[in-house]
Every structure is written in structure tokens, then in C-alpha cells.
Symmetry: C2
Subunit: 816 residues, 2 copies
């Protein structure tokens, strides 16, 4: 017997196995109901009393018995076939079910030693559920065997496929709730089957759990004709298998039918997996439509209203179990219907013949190591990024497209890590100038091919995953990371907002797992946001939005990092750091357009290690004296404008002592008490002074800088320019002008803020005003930026005036 994809004879269930399945299911259902309702008296050794019931009933019953049924049957099949399998629970509301199954197969007690396999353990198991100081009511990071939080719906299949990529021997049983199936992300994620590779990747078995109802409504997919649903699944590229049980179905028959169906499906998968390697065409993977009554085996009617088989079974069907004798009686009868005394012995231990249904060790779905991916994670083999440095003989003396340079390094990252690193993006990897990676790999595509004239870089198995769905890119990557691999997501900056809510949920997962000792650290979720706000002059206003950073920094400081490298070498250094990091979300914003390089690789490393610092060669301060003004920049375009402004100032106001500060690691601006990367007040004041004007040119919404620095001594003198939602289809320089971030306006800002300049430099100020008008008019006439701006380069003459970066004391901290 090999390790995966074994076939088994499809034969009727033996009575013994049937009784095991039935026993397991009853036990799991009993434990689920117990978790939702019981505070004590877990084995009902005394008649159920009011005080045994929790004072606040919080949980979800409706989907749970179906999930338990599937878990029991998968147990049987896994054991028979030794098939490594994980269970992704789209209906995360079934939290009690997943906990119950993990308890039954022993994983729970191994993970949480106080929840023992006896009566006292059962009491704890019940009590902790959805109880203060206990565990969430949904499938959560705390649930062994889970890589999929049950909160926001829609990502079950994306996560499942992410887990399957590069795990050729893994079966991912992915239960999709029929409520969830109405969400957009889920509706497109069925198409993931065109991206999975039959030999390189594992198999996802989608199980559409058609239990018919949401909180208060029927579900769409349950209320279309069966043939229409079949068409839909065939249209999605699957071979559907239907299982149907109603409230009237004989339960033994249900077990027999489903066992046969599951064996048929798994044999079909084995058959497809066993096709010869030269069978490269996409196969139609099976999926199961699993139609069962909502709240199956629960009370049929409560207070005369249909409950099982209706939306009324969604949450807690007996809201007043503690308050009315009638409801208490219904609950007692319901619990009794599972005949717990047949399932658990006097000590509360599960009957060994039932326990035998489950596989053992790592084959238990709740213990499968893939669900605690940090356990399996291998460090990436990273090529030395310094070898990919662009040459910078002097600041601004050479030009590069930063992301294109990064792409060359990524090419070798791909080469060195052929089975645990992928790049995700919605049709934009080349647009974001990472196309060098196609020297080493291609875009994994298992839909149809038409020919080499157009199918450029498409391959059956590759490291780049492109589908025009940010939700899919994010969901796939999350699933890939959660099962112990590495990757990045490249995206247009504006449209990364599409996955704002998914980022939220992943950040929450990371925060929680930081405090769960048995969860091992996973690789960070790395974003590369290119085609950013300042270079969407051609696509216009709808493509201009730098607000993802604002969204990200609302999450816990311990899990979020934001970097804005100003040039190619700093981008290389930053990304090397990101790919080495663990348990973070790293947001990196970097340009793809030709733009000057300012730092040598050695300088870039020093600068990125500090996270921010003075560029002495750019400023005109005098060693040992306070500057008159600080010009600070963050982001590639603001840095260019800031330097051009300093150039103008140095030429026109030679006595002005300017300090130039650049920020790569945005979180350095926060207080050290707020963020692990934060500067102390002393460090901050050393850089930004306590009382001199600071003109800060920032990539995004300006108020973010104020929000990060409002407690700093010099906050009152901080004057921030950034994107203020003024944009349209125009030229790059017109974009910065529209938002007052341009070099001329920065000069005006300096003049207006430095008292000594206000009177004496009125002429220069007026020149700047005129320059802006001239630039605007030229643009409107010629459709391009004025040559003076287009051709501007940092004058070599400035470079020698002060010294090289890194010559002064580091401002403290490192970039971890």
C-alpha cells in the first residue's frame, strides 16, 4: 500500500462499521449539543436541571450534525486508505462539531491537557465553549485541525486549494456551506480547479453542504432545480455526486448510502491521480452535493414551529432552555436521544469500538501536521540579494525600475525553492514588472491551451498563480502559508482594498496564534503593491487609492509591518527581510516606473536596517548644529519630489540648513510603546528636532503621519503633504501637483514655515507659484510633463558637500 490515493472496494457497510459510524456521529452530536447548552452534568448522571444549562446560550447547531456526519465518514475512509486528509470547514459556525470530533479522536486532550478523556474533561469541554475565558463558538485558531476561521464567509475553497498546491499526496475535504456559496469569493473559487495540477498538487474534494437555510432565509442553491445545480457544478468543471437525506430518511440507510458514495468518489479521485504523467489535460474532479436537513437529529418542532429542516435551527434552537420547564424538557429529550450511556463509560471515556473508527496519529484530521503549517515549514533558500544590486556610483546617477530589479532576485528565489514558494497576482505580475520570473517558471494554467503564439509563459505546473480575482489570490496564498509554505501577492495598490476584510481576518488569526503555544509560526503574508497611486495618472481616479496602509495599521502592531523603499536597492533589502520574517503581514509599496537610484547596496542595507535615517548627502546641515528645517520623505515619488525640492533650495537659498530624512519602515514613526519598531521620543527628536519645521512628503493620506506622531514633541511643526483624493487622468507630475506634493510646492512649504525665509524669499516663492502654472499649462498643451521635471537629476555637485549615508551614528533599533 502506497502512502496516498489508494482505491478500496466499494461494498456495503458491515453492521459493525455501521454501528461505529452511527456511534461516532451520535457521540459527536451529543458533545456538540452539550457544548452549546451544558454548564455541568455532562453525562446527565442526574436528571437535567435548570442550573446545568448555561446562562447565556451562544453557538450554532444548524450545520453541526452534517459536519459531524462527514467527519465520521471521512474517518472511516482515511483509516481504510491511509490517506492524509485535512478538513476545511466553510460553515465555521459548526465550531462545536469540530471541537467534538477532535475530542473524540484524542487530539483535543493531547493539545489541551486539562480537557481530559473523562467526565471531568467533558465538563470542561462543555463549559469552555463560547464561555468567557474559554473558546470561540466558531472554528478558530484554537481548534486543532483548523486552517480556516469560521467568521467571515467565502474563502473555504480558496484556502483549500492553497493548502493543496505542492502537496501532491494531500486530500483536502472542503465543506462549503450553502450560505457561504452565495458570496462572491466562493462563487468564483470553484474555478480554482483550472489552476491546480494533477500530479504536482493535492486534490480538493468540495462538499457542498446543502442544508437549505441561512440565518433567516433559504439558500439560493437549495432552491433551484436539482438539474440546474448539476449544470452549475458541471459548468464549474466538476463531476457532481449527489447525496440526499431528509428528515424522514432512515439514518442507517443514510450511513450506507453515503459510505458507498464516498468510496466511489475517492476511488474516482484515485483513478484520476493514477493517470499516466503524460495525461496533462485538466480532469473533472469529483465534488459532492451533500443535502441534509438543517439541524438534523434535533427537535423537529419547538413551540409548534418547524425547527429541524428550517432556518430556526441555525443558531440555538432552544433559547429558553433555562427559563421554561417546557424547553428544558425538550433539551433533555434531545440529549437523551443520542443515548450517551451507550457511547461513554461510567468514567466518561468513549467506547473503544467507536474510538476505533478514527485513524491514528497524524492521519487524524484534527492532528494532520498540514493544519499547523509552521511545523512543516522549511526556511526559504534565499540568494544573496546583494548580488542583484544596481550600481549607484553617485546618488541619482543611475535609473532603474525597482520591481523589475526585484523580479531578477525573485527569479532565483523561485529556482532555489521549487516546491514551497509561489507568486500570486491578479493578471498583473508582468504589469508590475516582475516578468523576469518567467525565465525560471511560468503561470500555472490548467484550462485549455490554444498555441504558443498567445499562450506565453503558461505552463501546466508553475510558480506564478494569476487569476483575475484578488480574493482568490489572497485566499490561495493564505491557504499556502497556513500549511507551511511561502509566497507573495503582487497587486495594484488601489485594488488591494478588495481584500481588506480578508486581510483583517488573517491578521486576527496571526494575533491569536501568537498566543497559542502549540501553533508554530508561519511565514509572513507579503504584499507587493506596485502600480501605485502616483503612477496611475493614465488609468485615472478610479485607480488611485493609497488607503490600504491606513487599513493595515489599525491591526495589532505585533503583526503588521509597512515598508516604502525609495529605490531599487532598498526594495531588494526590504524584500529579503520580508521573506525571512514570520507571523507578520508585510506591506511593501514600490514603484515599477524608471526612477533614480539613490543608495548603494551597502547604504541601502544600513538604511533599511535603521528603517529611517538622515541622508547627509542630500541635506545641507552643518555637523553639530540644528538644521533650520527638516525635509522628510516616505515613498519613491515623494522622495524624488523631496530631493528635487532640496535641490532647488540649495541652489536658491544656499545658507539654509536642511536636514533630509527618509523613512522606509513606516512603523518607526510610532512611539516605541505603540509598536515594536517605534522610535523612542529621544530618537525621534534627534531626527526630527523638537521645534524646527518638518515638511513631510508622504506617499499616502497625509493624516496617517499625524496619527502616528501626534504625541511627539514636534507634532505642531509637522506639515505633511500626501494624497488628498485629488486625481484624474493626467501626467505623473500633474498628479503630484494636484495634491500639492510637487517639488515646487514643497519649496513653498519650506519658505512658509521657516520664519527667516518668509520675508526675504518672496521672489523665490512667486517663482515656484509660476512654475506650477507653467507646468500645468505645458501639460495641458503637450500632454506630457515639462522637460525640466522629466529631465531633472540630482546634481552630482551636491553629493560631495557633506558625506555619505551611514557616516553618522545609527538612530537605534534594527528593522526587526
Amino acid at each position: 500500500m502506497t502512502t496516498a490515493w489508494n482505491s478500496a472496494e466499494v461494498k456495503p457497510l458491515s453492521d459493525y462499521t455501521l454501528s461505529q459510524l452511527d456511534g461516532w456521529w451520535r457521540a459527536a452530536n451529543y458533545l456538540s449539543v452539550g457544548q452549546i447548552y451544558l454548564l455541568d452534568n455532562p453525562l446527565l448522571r442526574t436528571p437535567l436541571a435548570r442550573d446545568d444549562v448555561k446562562p447565556r446560550l451562544l453557538g450554532h447547531w444548524g450545520t453541526t450534525p452534517g459536519l459531524n456526519f462527514l467527519y465520521a465518514h471521512l474517518n472511516r475512509a482515511i483509516k481504510e486508505r491511509s490517506q492524509s486528509t485535512i478538513y476545511v470547514t466553510g460553515p465555521g459556525h459548526g465550531g462545536p462539531g469540530l471541537v467534538a470530533n477532535a475530542y473524540l479522536d484524542g487530539t483535543y486532550s493531547e493539545t489541551y491537557s486539562d480537557v481530559t478523556a473523562d467526565a471531568e474533561g467533558l465538563r470542561r469541554l462543555f463549559r469552555q465553549f463560547s464561555f468567557p475565558g474559554g473558546i470561540p463558538s466558531h472554528v478558530a485558531p484554537e481548534t486543532p485541525g483548523s486552517i480556516h476561521e469560521g467568521g467571515e464567509l467565502g474563502y473555504a475553497l480558496s484556502h483549500a486549494y492553497g493548502a493543496a498546491f505542492d502537496n501532491p499526496d494531500l486530500l483536502v475535504a472542503a465543506v462549503v456551506g450553502d450560505g457561504e456559496a452565495e458570496t462572491g469569493p466562493l462563487a468564483t473559487s470553484w474555478h480554482s480547479n483550472k489552476f491546480v495540477n494533477r500530479t504536482q498538487d493535492g486534490v480538493v474534494l468540495p462538499i457542498l453542504h446543502l442544508n437549505g437555510y441561512k440565518i433567516a432565509n433559504p439558500t439560493v442553491l437549495d432552491r433551484i432545480p436539482k438539474e440546474e445545480l448539476r449544470s452549475l457544478m458541471v459548468g464549474y468543471g466538476h463531476e457532481p455526486y449527489f447525496f440526499e437525506a431528509t428528515e424522514d430518511t432512515d439514518l442507517a440507510q443514510a450511513h450506507r448510502d453515503f459510505a458507498e458514495l464516498l468510496d466511489t468518489v475517492l476511488n474516482r479521485i484515485a483513478e484520476l491521480k493514477a493517470l499516466p504523467d503524460d495525461h496533462v489535460e485538466r480532469v473533472r474532479w469529483p465534488m459532492i452535493v451533500f443535502r441534509t436537513p438543517k439541524g438534523w437529529t434535533g427537535p423537529a418542532y419547538i413551540d409548534g414551529k418547524k425547527t429541524t429542516g428550517s432556518w430556526r435551527a441555525h443558531q440555538v434552537p432552544l433559547a429558553n432552555a433555562r427559563d421554561t420547564p417546557e424547553h428544558l424538557k425538550v433539551l433533555a429529550d434531545w440529549l437523551a436521544s443520542y443515548r450517551a450511556d451507550e457511547l461513554f463509560d461510567a468514567d466518561g471515556k468513549l467506547d473503544p469500538t467507536i474510538a476505533e473508527l478514527a485513524p491514528t496519529g497524524d492521519l487524524r484530521m484534527s492532528a494532520n501536521p498540514h493544519t499547523n503549517g509552521g511545523q512543516l515549514m522549511k526556511d526559504l533558500r534565499l540568494p544573496d540579494f546583494r548580488d542583484y544590486a544596481v550600481d549607484v556610483p553617485a546618488p541619482g546617477a543611475t535609473i532603474a525600475e525597482s520591481t523589475r530589479v526585484l523580479g531578477k532576485w525573485l527569479t532565483d528565489v523561485v529556482r532555489l525553492n521549487p516546491d514551497n514558494f509561489r507568486i500570486f497576482g491578479p493578471d498583473e505580475t508582468a504589469s508590475n514588472r516582475l516578468q523576469a520570473v518567467y525565465d525560471a517558471t511560468g503561470k500555472q494554467w490548467n484550462a485549455e491551451y490554444v498555441g504558443p503564439e498567445v499562450d506565453e509563459h503558461l505552463v501546466r505546473a508553475g510558480r506564478v498563480m494569476e487569476m483575475l480575482s484578488e480574493h482568490q489570490c489572497q485566499g490561495w496564498l493564505e491557504g499556502y502559508l497556513l500549511t507551511g509554505r511561502h509566497g507573495l501577492f503582487n497587486c495594484y495598490e488601489a485594488f488591494i482594498h478588495i481584500i481588506d476584510s480578508m486581510f483583517n481576518q488573517h491578521a486576527k488569526w496571526l494575533k491569536v496564534t501568537n498566543h497559542i503555544p502549540w501553533r508554530r509560526p508561519i511565514a509572513s503574508l507579503n504584499y507587493l503593491l506596485s502600480s501605485h497611486v502616483w503612477r496611475q495618472d493614465h488609468n485615472g481616479f478610479s485607480h488611485q487609492d493609497p488607503g490600504f496602509i491606513d487599513h493595515v495599521v489599525n491591526k495589532r502592531a505585533e503583526v503588521v509591518r509597512v515598508y516604502l523603499p525609495p529605490d531599487a536597492n532598498t526594495l531588494l533589502s526590504t524584500y529579503d527581510h520580508c521573506l525571512r520574517s514570520r507571523q507578520y503581514v508585510n506591506v511593501v509599496v514600490a514603484g515599477k516606473q524608471p526612477s533614480p537610484n539613490f543608495l548603494t547596496m551597502e547604504e541601502a542595507i544600513a538604511h533599511c536596517t535603521r528603517g529611517l535615517g538622515i541622508w547627509e548627502w542630500a541635506g545641507s546641515e552643518v555637523l553639530g548644529e540644528e538644521p533650520d528645517v527638516v525635509v522628510a520623505t516616505c515613498g519613491d515619488v515623494p522622495t524624488l519630489e523631496g530631493l528635487a525640492a532640496v535641490d532647488l533650495l540649495r541652489k536658491n537659498v544656499p545658507d539654509l540648513k536642511i536636514r533630509f530624512v527618509n523613512v522606509v519602515d513606516l512603523m518607526r514613526l510610532q512611539d516605541e510603546k505603540e509598536h515594536p519598531h517605534g522610535l523612542s521620543d529621544r530618537e525621534f527628536d534627534m531626527l526630527f528636532t523638537r521645534d524646527k519645521p518638518v515638511i513631510f512628503a508622504y506617499h499616502g493620506y497625509p493624516w496617517l503621519i499625524h496619527r502616528l506622531t501626534y504625541r511627539r514633541a514636534n507634532n505642531e511643526n509637522l506639515h505633511v503633504r500626501g494624497y488628498k483624493e485629488e486625481g484624474t487622468t493626467t501626467t505623473p507630475f500633474d498628479m503630484v501637483m494636484l495634491n500639492d506634493l510637487d517639488r515646487y510646492h514643497l519649496v513653498i512649504d519650506v519658505i512658509d514655515r521657516v520664519p527667516s525665509l518668509q520675508s526675504s524669499y518672496a521672489t523665490l516663492r512667486q517663482q515656484m507659484v509660476d512654475k506650477r502654472l507653467e507646468a500645468r499649462q505645458y501639460t495641458r498643451t503637450h500632454g506630457d510633463d515639462i522637460p525640466e521635471v522629466r529631465d531633472w537629476v540630482w546634481p552630482a555637485a551636491h553629493g560631495a558637500t557633506f558625506g555619505a549615508v551611514g557616516a553618522t551614528e545609527a538612530t537605534g533599533g534594527d528593522n526587526e
Copy 2:
């Protein structure tokens, strides 16, 4: 002939009509290419020269000829049938096409009088496209006939159905790009057909534009077998009709085939529309799969690489038209292929026989009044919200569920506006306690019914739209508003982030239309966020996120408003205001749990009109003296905790002069220069003092308050408590404790910040610390909050000490 849904005989095209169609298509294609490439020489009266070509080539050709083809054919059909039709362009990249067609049918020149129907007008038309000071390259608010911006993809069908609701005579031709079709929101929006009503609503005709390629990849739906695609569309509930043209297809034949197919489809729609009224079952509406080569009629090969019929045609196929004679020649030949001299006379005027193809007046798709919804909008008939007030004999003396109270008023809003007001929500209208509306209407549901036991409140035609897709709710509502109607979207607070990016795009649309004189104001997009962060103690951490407010306030102040009414009467007053407003996005956060009422309706109106103000009855300040401390609150739960803290302080520190400020309209905190609702510094200082400690209990992330007030004189003394991403499954009071927003912690904050208390009230401080511990322990033992907190009410005794709200001078401003 009636006004809508006329049939027409399906017969072969006459040569005359064929030549009109062909002429129109060639003209539209010529104008599209002209817009992308030409700066001048629009009619090519002299040979194309380098300087005729734009210096920066920005635009998208690929999808455009297909869109033009459809537009031409729809013109013919509309004219023949007098069928009011609008055109929703999912592939917004086809901007030049939509502009071209609007120009050809005369709408463009009527809208923009400088773009005349002559050679000079053509020159302007070409030049302005994707040019500084001109128009965007995508379909945009500036484009006549558009309700659908071409930027972020995925919402074409949702918008189309939103437009069709309550417009029984309207046909919405909705072109779905095959790139867009890969997005999640689009993938689920096909299911909209289960929600549309055959007689009450219009008809959406989805046209899947299968041109095969995205930016750099094939599309999924183009690369599955035709039968699989047919299954998919049948599975989505449609009757698909296929049209296919390749690069080899004879163009005349293509016109003949498509004309016949379109007539067949429109007749089928007419047939379905003509079914008797008692035919209530869902019908299978037709849809068209329109498969054509990408960049159809463009250069087949450029530089030896396949262009037409490949992703290379996506954007600007001749990047170097200005720089190489070879490319210039290709462009010249391409333009010449449309034989413009046959289409336009010497003055640049369109041949009248071609012009005749289009319908006239409002039947022109670019001039259809539904696409400028403000023109058609009727004001809502609003019942007097004061009649729905809850009785508040004294502050805190009665209890209500705010959203339930609002629901009663909404019930009558529904009754009074039976054809232009809808409520949208993802399965949560009852969960958010608005279920009173079911007394007046039901949930519109046109999938299958099974029986009254479970199909509660489901109706074939109703005012409540529930699908478990926030994307659909948002997209439908946007389409409904943009075509001149009214509505609201109720949602769990945490999951509204799912539509962050859609909000962005709608806010951008509103901002731009504010500056387009011919666009008439539309009703505001109203959110009701209930089930908010503080009352997701049962669902846990994944359901706790108040960050949508932060996201919203990044958009232009002129279009965003945020309200946090603290009780039922203030919610009524706020929502009445929101439903009357125009061109805004109104975010209203309000609780659904039983909670005390503080203001009578009269007081509520005064308070909401101010937007914020002192609650004199709550504080203990002395008239004419500065307070010792300001306790400010914003949001229902923070207000409760703030009042409970003040209660404790008044009992324990009777001499302390406390001012109590409540904020309803969050934007009042901003500077008057930043937001139209902003307070002047003088007003702000009058309320919050210039130097006294302010303890601010806020609903969301605390730093937002700092970001809104960082320039205020008293910023340094502002101490904000709010949600700091600490949450889990616990009790309501434990949630506020976890985030230090609880009454006990607020008392501690006051003691720590008021110098005179720091030494003398150490005992009280310690009591508060002990109280927190006690509360935590009680919760962990009993699974519920301590009775002291649960049973707390604002003491009537305090009420009489100072006077009623509204007794002092209004602080200025109104809430508009």
C-alpha cells in the same frame, strides 16, 4: 405599439440596414482608434504624420470593437422596438467606444457643446481622451449614458439588476467582460436572476463578452469547452445564446448572424414579459455569449507578433506609433481600413443614413434618463419620525432596542414609497432587528418556495433584498440609487469591510459627479451598521472590527458623513436626515440590543441638529465656571459606560466639576476647514476647553479621534479609549473591559488625569481596579456580567441637578 417589450419579426437584414450597421461600427471603431492615438488631423485630410500622434499613448483598444458592435446592433433593435434600454459596460476599459457611440448619436455634443459634430469637434474629441484636462480613458461619470465606472471590475451585473428593480419597462443590456467574470462579485451576481421579479422589475440581458484575454493571460471562461460554459450559464439559471466570430469571419455575415440572434433573444424576452400575471414562477431569462476576437478589426500582427485575437491587443497595440516609421505606417493603414471618407463628409459630419440607425431622444442609450438618475428621482415621502419616538420621562428611565424602533418608522417609509425605496442586507435584516418592516413588505425571492412553515416573509415582489453577499447588496443598491431611487444597506459592522473597495469607487463617483453640471444629484448611499463591535461578544474576535469608519473618512469630506446616535430617538432623527440627503455616503452605527434611552425626541432633534453637545443633566459642572474634566462619548456603548463612570464619580467625588459631551456627528470634531460639518476652533474650545483633561470614550479605534483633532489646542490633554483589537468570545462588559473602555477604567482615567484627584482618591482608584478584577472573575465563573453592571441605571437623582439638554446656547452649525 406599446412602450415596451414589443416583438419584431426575425428576418434577414436588408442590405440597407446591413450597410448602416457596418457604417456605424466602422465609424465607432474609427473614432475609438482616433481617440487613443490622434492629437490632430482627425479626418486624415493629410497623410498621418508623427506629430499627429499623442506623445503618451494611454487607453484600451482590445474590448472596444466588440462593445461598438453591440452598441450598433442594440441601436437598430431599440429603434425598431422603441424599447427603453441602457447599456452597462462591464469592460470599462472600452471607454473610447462608449464616448464614440455617444458622439455618433449626438448625445455627446448635446452634453459637451464644445465637442461639435464637425471636424473641429472631432479634433477635440480625440485630443481630450486620456489627456491632461480631458476625460478618463475608462467609462466614467463624464461619459454620457454611464452608471458604471470602468475601474475596479466585478459589479456590472449587480449594477444592472439594481437599475432594473422597479423599472418594469427597462431593458438593461449588461456587457460582462470575461476578465471581470473571474472576479468573485461577478461570479455570484449571475444569481441575481433569482431576485428579480418578472412584472414589477425590468429585464437584464447579460452579454458575456468572451474576447479571450486579460492584460497578459487568457480568460478562464474562454478556455473551457463550450458545453461546459453552456452548463455554467444554465446552472446560473439562464438560457444562453451563442454568437461566435473569429478573425476569419466575414463581417457582413457576422452582422447578419448577430442581428438575427438579437431579435430572437429580444422576442424571447418579450414573450416572457407577456406571460400572464399569474405566472409567478421564475423564468429563465436569455443571456448572450458574445465571442469575438480581442481587438477585432485591428492589426493582425505587429512586429511579427500576433496582436488581434490575443492579449497583446488589450491596451495600446502600437506603443511606438510616434517613434518608428514602421509603427506609424501600421497605424495609418489601420485607420484607413475604416474608410472614414465614406462615413464622414468633408465637414466631419456623420453620413445621415448611418446616423439614422440610432434611435432618437431619450431612447438613445447614451441619453437614457435612467443613466442620470437624479433627473428621475422623486423625493421620498417620509412619515414624521417624531411619531415613532420612544417615551423618555427621564434620562435612562426607559429601555429600547434602537434599530427595532427605527424598523417601525422604516415600515411606514416602505408603505409610503412602494416603488422607489428598498432595504438591502445580507440575511441580517431581522438579525439587525428591523423586522417590523415585514408588516409592510417581504423579502423579494424568486427562487423556489417550499411552504409557509419555513418561507416566512418571502414574497415574489417585495422591498427587502437579502442575499448572503455584501457585494451584491452594495452593487444592487448602487445601481438602484444611480438610476434615481432610494435605499439603505444594513450590515454587521465587521463585515462591511467586504465592500471597502466598492465604497471607494462609489465615493469617487459622487465626488466627480459633484463637479459635472449635467449630472443631477442622487440619493445618498445609507449604511446602517448594527451588530457592532461591542455586541459581538458572542460571535467573537472575527466579528469585531469598527474600522469601516476609518476607511470612510479617508474619502473627500464633501461626500462622507458618519453618525453614531447613542439611543433610539437620536437614531430616528439621524436616519430621517440621511434619507433626505443627496450625494453623500452616510454611515450610521447603531446598536440592536436593549439599552437605555437618554433623550426625549425634542432633545434628540436638538442634539442631532448640533451634531454634538453638552448633556448638562449628566455632568456636574457649575454654570459660568470651567469644568475640572470633560468626559466625552461617541457611540451607544461608550455613552453608556461614560455615563456610568460619571455616576460613580458624582457619587464618590461630589466636588468634581464634570462636563459630559456626547458626539453624534463624528465629522463635527474635524476642523471647519477640513470638513463642512467641522467645528471652528472657538466652538471646539468652548466645548472641550483649551487645557482641561478630556477623557473620550469612542466606539472605534481610538487613534481616529486623534487624527480628527490633532490641530486642536487641547489635543495634548485628549485621552481616548476605544477598541484596540482586543476581543474574544465573552460577555458584553468583558469586551469593554478588555479594551479599557469600561466605566471603572474611565474613572481611573479621570483620577489619573485630574491633578487634584491623584493624591486624594487613591482609595477610589484602587476600588476601581478591584471592581475590574471582580467583574472579570464573576464573568469567568458565571458566564455572565456582574449584576451591578447589568442592572445599572442612570440615577434619577442626578437628573435634576443641572437642567435639561438644550438649555444652553447651541454651539453653532447645523447637521447639514
